[in-house]
Amino acid sequence: MQERAFRFGRARHMIGIAGVPEQRSETPGVIVLNAGLVHRIGPFRLHVELARRLNARGYPTLRFDLSTVGDSAASDESQTREQQVCADVDDAISLLGEQAGCTRFVVIGLCSGAQNAHTVARTDPKVAGVIFLDGYAYRTLGYKLRRYLPKLFNPTSWRRALTQRQRSAEVVAGEPVFSVAPLPMAVVRKDLAGMLARGMKLCLIYSGGISNYFNHARQFRECFGRVVDHPGISTHFFAETDHTYILTGDRRRLIDTIEHWINQQFPVVNTGASS
């Protein structure tokens, strides 16, 4: 299989790489969204490795740059950020649908990519599954107890906390920070329930790299309640990894987990046709 490069979109302003297996199947196509401002190859080439693993399994993929990210330009439309993300992903879905013949899609996003995947999955009926990597999470009471209670009686923690506070204050003063305010927990909980009610499959994979607001597998339930008991949702917490999977072994484990989940939820059924 050879990947193909495309310029596409309503203003022909986006760049993407499609991987379409030679054997046609009735699997969903997989759309990989930007992680922050890193271009479509993903942090440490995560998206390339992931897409190629899924292609080898029989899933068509598209990794692409959203408007103004990576090699994509602006669409020159007057839209909110959410409208622009939805329109971009819709363009990506159309492209992969044309190239691979798929009609259902799984969207994968890390960090801001997970937020964008959430935005799209709220409304797009073509989305059959979503993989949220370090998506929405909230500092629950359980989080605070797990984080602060052991430290209360530890003098080393007190000393470290004081010096880190000083260091983080220096960082805040030196580096501009741009971020999007997260959706309220109740809204996200309701959204996830709505997605599951529509038959969507959800996979939440969180890392130890977000330990400043998520620190235990139990926190999925603390944040999202009984939604996590639904058979359509799967949760994983990799406590020892960092946020962007900088170690090759951690990245392999993440890709193994994603491949396994997709294969379980959307098994490949070959139709016998070649593209």
């Binding site: 990947e3 310029r7 760049i15 490795e49 990576g70 790299g209 020892e240 090759t248």
Partner: protein, 258 residues
Amino acid sequence: MTTRPEAERPLYFGAHGELFGLYHPAATPAKKAVLLCPPLGQEHIRCHRLYRQLARTLAGEGMAVLRFDYYGSGDSAGASADVDLDRCVADTMAAANELRRLSGTDHIVAFGARLGGSIAMMAAARLASLVVWDPVLDGSYYVMTQDALQAELGHDPQRFTTPRMPTDVAGQWLGFAVSDGLRGQLASLRLSPSTVPTLVLDSLPSTAVSRWNALDASCTEIKTLQLATPWDDLARAEIAILSHPLIQAVSGHLRATV
């Protein structure tokens, strides 16, 4: 004058169509063509935005530009562990040929940052001139620096809640697998003086060893950029490198040498 983004063309090229490239045609008939050779590993990702800005600036000034990824990097075929220095040089020559074909111009100038500059220097026989930014001349020092950063990474409390085992961090540099072959190639890298006109843009910290003594003064011009570039700062490993002075220096030099 600027080029319209939709004129930029993504493509695969090379003998087996394995190399990814993004061609920026000139806004006016091309006077010369510029090949942008990326660095390797995480520096490739950190420089992506800057390379795009540089390409668009040069295209707007009448130069055809090709950005590309070596085999095993970016969107090109191959796994990260497949990156090989000799293959990178061969890919650079293939990319230069592709740029000649696309632009209709035989006069190819290459730009490269860090190891991208080193690779451009190794491919110089097929190029008209070079602009290199903090090129790696002494590979053994580069290997030592990357090893030190990787060892530090495993114990970085800003990244990991508990320190990682040495086996977890072995065989890789800042997110990218490094084969024994590539490590050996880099460890023995000692660049010979360039045989074509070369501009070296220097933004290494003043404490950096070796500098540019190994270069032949007769065909090398050295220009110092005001601000040091934090190439080897673990805390900034995932922060993009942007530099308007660099873009101004490159475009100004290429304008003046048309």
